[in-house]
């Protein structure tokens, strides 16, 4: 009797596990089939004719005083370096593409601005032509200046990039990539013009016309060497009216500008391997008349320690045509023009922490000084002779 019970129990459990086994292999077969159909579904979904992507930065910065470096003061701000960008690219064919990019910046009250909107066509000889609103590639980082994730620092060097009045232009460009044995040469030529709302010095509004520029760069696995030269004409710049003089004429911050020609030159080098990052750029801005002619540049050194990259950076900015403004003796224009004479050196130490692909956090301390007897090119009212800004930033791309 006992035996029977045991046998029954054993048999029952065997039958049970057998049934379980059949059920499991049925399940697996069914799952396999589902996976296969899902696989082919995914494979069929790969019509990548529309590509939507974005980038965002959230930053907090605070300064030890109100000198106004990068827009920060001693109250601290979440606005100055925070932004959100979105880009949609439509590729109806291999050769034709349409791209639009919008960026909303905290410092501009999050009002979205169109930074790119163009049609691109690649010819059989691989020359790519684009027409519409394009990024203005005056300097090495200009093409992707808003893309914090692709920059090592919490903030791109303010001495070079903080003073560019326009970042996009409307016109056309042509680009071509030459493939060498294990490196590439990229050439880009562009022309167009752009309106300035109030981005010019002292809130001036006008236009930048007859922009013509050339960019040449060479890059391999580790190196990028880039040179560019752009000419442009600044036209019809008008300044905000501050009051009316005794003769009933409006007083503006600076004399209106009819037409002045200018040029922008840049030479930059970037090296990055598994361990080191070195970036350096020298730039020159020249504008006829009383607008500042300046030389600016930076050198950055970073060291990769797995997901963390500490860096140090040195940057310098100085105007070189100071005598052109010293002759302005007008009671209002004189002091305003004096604000266009400045010099500054900044020293940064910080670290980039790559939390996961597409997400990086940055910590930065920047100390700026060597203002000479100028306001350092900072807030007009600045009387401090140095300033320190602390920044924490998160950059993402998706």
């Amino acid at each position: 009797m006992k035996k029977t019970i045991i046998t029954t129990a054993v048999l029952a459990s065997l039958a049970c596990s057998a049934a379980y086994a059949t059920e499991t292999s049925d399940d697996i077969a069914q799952l396999k089939q589902q996976v296969n159909s899902l696989n082919s579904l995914i494979a069929n979904m790969t019509k990548d004719s529309i590509h939507v992507s974005g980038f965002a930065s959230g930053a907090y910065g605070i300064s030890n005083n109100d000198a106004g470096y990068a827009g920060f003061d001693s109250e601290g701000s979440f606005h100055e370096d925070s932004l959100f960008g979105v880009q949609a690219t439509f590729k109806p064919s291999k050769k034709l593409e349409a791209t639009i990019q919008l960026v909303a910046k905290g410092e501009l009250d999050w009002a979205p601005k169109v930074t790119s909107a163009y049609l691109g066509y690649t010819f059989d000889n691989d020359i790519k032509l684009r027409a519409g609103k394009l990024r203005l590639p005056l300097f090495m980082l200009s093409d992707y200046l808003d893309l914090g994730y692709a920059q090592p620092w919490a903030r791109s060097p303010e001495e070079v990039y903080g003073r560019v009045p326009i970042s996009s232009f409307t016109g056309i460009d042509a680009s071509y990539e030459i493939e060498l044995d294990d490196s590439y040469i990229n050439l880009q030529a562009f022309t167009g013009n752009e309106e300035m709302g109030d981005e010019s010095a002292a809130g001036g509004a006008g236009s930048v016309e007859d922009i013509i520029g050339l960019v040449a760069s060479w890059n391999d696995d580790y190196w990028t060497v880039r040179a560019s030269y752009t000419i442009a004409t600044v036209k019809d710049v008008e300044f905000p009216v501050l009051g009316i003089d005794a003769g009933g004429n409006p007083i503006t911050a600076l004399p209106d500008i009819d037409s002045e020609s200018g040029s922008y030159a840049s030479f930059g080098v970037r090296y990055e391997d598994e361990t080191w990052l070195v970036m350096a750029e020298a730039t020159q801005t020249r504008v006829d008349g009383y607008f500042s002619d300046s030389n600016a540049g930076y050198v950055t050194l970073g060291y990769h320690l797995n997901q963390v990259m500490p860096y140090v950076s040195l940057a310098r900015l100085e105007t070189v045509d100071n005598e052109e403004r010293e002759s302005i003796t007008h009671p209002v224009h004189g002091p305003a023009a004096a604000n266009l004479t400045y010099e500054r050196t900044s020293y940064s130490i910080g670290t980039r922490w790559d939390i996961q692909p597409g997400l990086a956090m940055k910590f930065d301390v920047t100390y700026a000084s060597n203002f000479g007897d100028t306001n350092g090119g900072l807030a007009q009212s600045n009387t401090e002779d140095s300033t320190t800004v602390f920044t924490v930033k998160v950059d993402a791309t998706f």
Partner: protein, 136 residues
């Protein structure tokens, strides 16, 4: 005893998964003769002499550990450097990053749908649906 523990710990450390057998695979219709230099160009979305740029490149997603190992060997970029590279290409309008799939099976199924499909998988996952083009 202490020594033994250290040895055990060290052997655990050094026996972390390694992928000795990554292979670049493609649709059987693709030609032979892919070199490391061309593979690097292809997986960075550059012009290449192997196909004259006419390939359908399929990447693995970053959650798949094979991706980091493949790029360490072939493009010499860490995942963060690779992501940074592609974001720059994308937002400057130079190139769009390749399609990403989660695993070898989806990758093989996608290659089967594209006569110019190319990707990389563990050699153990190779079957008749794909052709081995290069072993880094």
């Amino acid at each position: 005893m202490k020594k033994n523990i250290i040895i055990v710990l060290l052997s655990v450390l050094f026996s972390l998964p390694t992928f000795a057998d990554i292979v670049v695979v493609g649709n059987p219709a693709l030609p032979d003769g892919l070199t490391k230099k061309e593979a690097k160009k292809i997986f960075l979305g550059k012009k290449d002499k192997y196909s004259q740029g006419d390939l359908y490149v399929i990447e693995l997603s970053s959650t798949n550990p094979m991706k980091a190992e493949f790029h360490k060997r072939v493009t010499k970029k860490s995942l963060a450097q690779l992501e940074s590279y592609w974001s720059k290409q994308l937002f400057t309008g130079k190139a769009t990053p390749p399609l990403e799939v989660a695993d070898a099976n989806t990758l093989k199924a996608t290659i089967a749908q594209h006569s110019n499909g190319i990707g990389y998988i563990d050699e153990a996952d190779v079957d008749s649906s794909v052709k081995v083009l290069f072993k880094p």
